[in-house]
């Protein structure tokens, strides 16, 4: 019961990401999603009585719910761009597409994997949806921040998928992942800053002009 609530919350947070029109809204929705993910890890830790899971939960909370949103919000404030994300697909249509993906993922989890436990099956469906929607955010939003968030969302989805199917990846792999993500965000922050300084925008759709 508890797990279903957490998974639903996770999915709803992802939908929030999809319909977000402003950069700050996107980052805040990502924070909500990360909190639900850490709750999921906490639940897994409690039910399986694994110390490692608690550490993972803490890392998720600190890194994804606090540090990364903070870093991203700071860079947004520093480069002082307009709030608009630059949507290639409007929120209403995005939501419909997102629902389509959810159904597709459900079918996939149901048919392809044939998991016996319905909750596990649902977790897999949710995780695949999240990966797809992360991709979708990367494709259909213009500003570079959306591409960063999209990638992080996908990473969240993969984490959920791994723990849904196999009960979590090995501890060291998880730690390495967090470290990767952290470094990625730091580098991207610098990068976005430089790009903005050079081109006075962070609009990836305008990068076509770089083509020779």
């Amino acid at each position: 019961m508890m797990l279903s609530i957490i998974l639903s919350g996770f999915l709803v947070a992802t939908f929030l990401l999809v319909v977000a029109k402003r950069i700050t809204a996107l980052i805040r929705s990502f924070r909500i999603q990360a909190i639900f993910l850490s709750l999921y890890a906490l639940y897994m830790g409690l039910s399986q009585r694994h110390l490692e899971m608690f550490i993972v939960c803490g890392l998720i909370f600190v890194l994804k719910a606090i540090v990364i949103p903070f870093v991203l919000l700071r860079i947004i404030r520093r480069i002082n761009v307009e709030e608009d994300l630059g949507l290639l697909v409007n929120p209403q249509l995005s939501l419909i597409i997102a629902l389509g993906f959810t159904y597709l993922s459900y079918l996939f989890a149901h048919n392809a994997m044939a998991l016996t436990d319905p909750v596990e099956s649902a977790a897999l469906a949710v995780s695949i949806t999240v990966v797809c929607l992360g991709f979708f955010i990367m494709v259909s939003r213009m500003k570079a921040v959306a591409q960063i968030i999209g990638l992080l969302v996908m990473e969240n989805g993969i984490f959920l998928a791994a723990s849904a199917i196999s009960g979590g990846m090995p501890f060291f792999v998880e730690i390495a992942f967090f470290f990767d993500i952290f470094v990625f965000v730091i580098i991207i922050e610098v990068f976005v800053y430089k790009v903005n300084r050079l081109f006075t925008h962070i609009d990836t759709s305008k990068m076509k002009s770089l083509k020779g």
């Binding site: 290639l88 993906f101 597709l104 993922s105 079918l107 996939f108 149901h110 048919n111 392809a112 695949i128 990966v131 797809c132 991709f135 979708f136 990367m138 494709v139 259909s140 213009m142 591409q147 990836t204 759709s205 990068m207 076509k208 002009s209 770089l210 083509k211």
Partner: protein, 598 residues
């Protein structure tokens, strides 16, 4: 563990040693020639040239001596790359770069086919060694064997310059320095033939009869196409390059016949044909090397490659003219010289092939003999043009007027090739037994009854007869007609004061052939008039050209196809990051959909 490293590194058998001798015969004189040819270059470029030349020669030696496919491939690639650098040795000329690119593309397309074939062979033999390949090849299915044959043939034929893969020769050979053209045309394209002999005869042979017939047919096409294009070209080195195509065709006639009859068990004919092919191979190496060196000597002396601007060079450069004449007589297969012997042998092979076969094979052999006869006739005509227009008559340009005889080292290089041209003709009786034993070893035949008695006396006899008749005629003209001798200007035809602008030209000489082969050459004219008024034409230009059929109907459509496909592919990459991510996304969703449904 796969035994990746081959057991046998080098492999000395009669065939390999024969090619080693051919390489030495051409490379040494060319190297000597290059001393004089590169005299004007800076020290740095001289050193570069020598280093490249030595690597080139050694890579060719290692190709023919290698005992496994891996070493073969490595040396083959080194050879191709070094020869590319030698082609673009005059890198400041845009033509050289262009020629180099064409050569590089063609040779690598060929090498790609070779690699494919070698890896298929390796896959089945489990080793790169020739011995293992030979054993395992018999166990393969016929289809796979045919595929391997075709791949290997394309690879070697590209290097050898067999029509329609000859396209690079007329670009690359003229642009390289003369001594390099001499080695490339004399030896490097022969390494392609070596590959065919090594693989189709000693390793993978005897294959099905159609392999031999296929090579024979392409040989016929090559020799005719090569000589017809050579007749039309008035650039001396380009003409020689087209003659290489022709002579490779003649060598393939021997090789194809040998393979054809080898697969039918007619060993005597096979040995004879193989012998003819080998003989023509060494002959072509000699006289083509010589002719390229002569063209280099002319180029160094006058800066000219276009025959229409030469003329009268025999008076300025008598030694070069003599060497060119010897080479031209050799390549035209005139009796006492070496070309005659090998073409005569090829005819012999065809005729004994006719006697040994029935039905359509008889007709095929007769037609091949007819094609060879026509080729030698046209080649003779072509060298009448080449020698007559460039060396006889009176100079057609200031540069030809000012030409000077070349230095000692260049003469020595040419002489070292000219003497064997004569020796290989008159001394055929000594050469033949050696070549027969090489052919027997290559074909794996214990004994083949072939008499060389006629051959050992025939060229010498003809030489004596020619000498007697020639001196008789000379004496008669010199002393018998004393009172009737009148001196005019050169090629004056008994008129007075005709100058070089009235002379017979190469274009005029080749006109009958242009008309006779117009179905293939597709000649066209271009004229342009610049007029002041209707009545007064200030300038009138008139050009005739021939269409290069292979370029126009094979290579240009191919290139257009590649370019148009590339332009269509370019639309997939508009530079939008969103689209690129979308491609990944679409693939993922597609996969999920497929997995969800099935």
């Amino acid at each position: 563990m796969i035994n990746f490293l081959p057991k046998q590194l080098f492999f000395f058998d009669p065939l390999a040693v024969f090619f080693l001798v051919v390489i030495g015969l051409v490379c040494v004189p060319s190297a000597i020639f290059s001393i004089g040819y590169l005299r004007a270059e800076s020290l740095k470029r001289k050193i570069l040239s020598w280093v490249l030349l030595i690597i080139f020669a050694f890579s060719m030696c290692s190709v023919v001596l290698s005992g496994n496919m891996l070493l073969f491939l490595i040396c083959w690639e080194v050879m191709s790359l070094v020869s590319y650098f030698l082609v673009v040795f005059d890198f400041k000329q845009e033509k050289s770069i262009r020629a180099g690119i064409i050569y590089l593309v063609m040779t690598h397309a060929g090498t790609a086919c070779l690699m494919a074939a070698f890896f298929i062979l390796y896959n089945h033999a489990g080793s790169f060694d020739y011995a293992a390949v030979k054993q395992s090849f018999m166990l393969l299915t016929p289809q796979l064997r045919n595929i391997i044959f075709l791949l290997l043939f394309i690879g070697f034929a590209t290097k050898a310059g067999v029509v329609p893969l000859h396209i690079w020769l007329p670009y690359a050979h003229p642009q390289a320095p003369a001594h390099i053209s001499s080695i490339m045309s004399g030896v490097m394209i022969k390494v392609g033939i070596y590959g065919m002999m090594r693989f189709f005869i000693t390793l993978l042979g005897p294959g099905p009869a159609w392999w031999g017939a296929f090579i024979l047919a392409l040989g016929i096409v090559s020799c005719l196409v090569g000589v017809i294009y050579a007749l039309m070209d008035h650039d001396l080195k380009k003409l020689l390059a087209y003659h290489s195509v022709e002579n490779i065709g003649i060598i393939l006639l021997g090789l194809g016949t040998a393979m054809f009859f080898g697969s039918r068990g007619k060993t005597v004919v096979a040995v004879l044909a193989m012998c003819a092919g080998l003989y023509h191979l060494v002959n072509h190496a000699l006289f083509k090397g010589l002719l390229f060196l002569c063209s280099g000597s002319v180029f160094k002396a006058s800066g000219l490659r276009d025959m229409e601007k030469m003329g009268g060079l025999i008076k300025k450069m008598p030694m070069t003219a003599l060497f060119f004449l010897i080479g031209a007589m050799g390549i035209s297969a005139l009796p006492p010289l070496n070309g005659f012997v090998s073409e005569w042998l090829t005819f012999q092979a065809f005729f004994s092939g006719v006697l040994e076969s029935q039905g359509w094979v008889k007709i095929f052999m007769v037609l091949s003999a007819a094609a060879l006869a026509m080729t030698s006739g046209l080649a003779a005509a072509c060298f009448v043009k080449a020698f007559g227009i460039s060396f006889l008559g009176s100079p057609r340009s200031v540069r030809a007027q000012d030409a000077k005889e070349c230095g000692f080292s260049m003469k020595a290089g040419m002489a070292l090739l000219a003497i064997p041209v004569i020796l290989f003709g008159i001394g055929a009786g000594f050469i033949m037994p050696i070549l027969l034993s090489i052919s027997r070893a290559a074909l794996g035949v214990e004994k083949a009854d072939i008499s060389v008695r006629l051959l050992s006396v025939l060229p010498a006899m003809i030489a004596v007869i020619l000498l007697v008749i020639g001196s008789a005629v000379f004496l008669w003209f010199r002393f018998g007609l004393r009172n009737k001798r009148v001196s005019y200007n050169t090629w004056d035809c008994g008129y007075y004061s005709l100058d070089s602008r009235n002379e017979y030209t190469a274009t005029a000489f080749s006109k009958p052939f242009r008309i006779a082969f117009s179905f293939f050459l597709l000649p066209y004219r271009k004229s342009e008039k610049i007029r002041d008024s209707f009545y007064h034409v200030r300038k009138f230009t008139y050009e005739t050209h021939t269409t290069s059929v292979f370029k126009r109907f094979l290579y240009e459509p191919l290139l257009r196809l590649i370019y148009s496909t590339a332009f269509k592919m370019r639309k997939l990459q508009p530079g939008s990051i969103h689209l690129y991510i979308f491609y990944i996304f679409a693939t993922l969703v597609g996969l999920i959909t497929i997995a969800a449904i099935f």
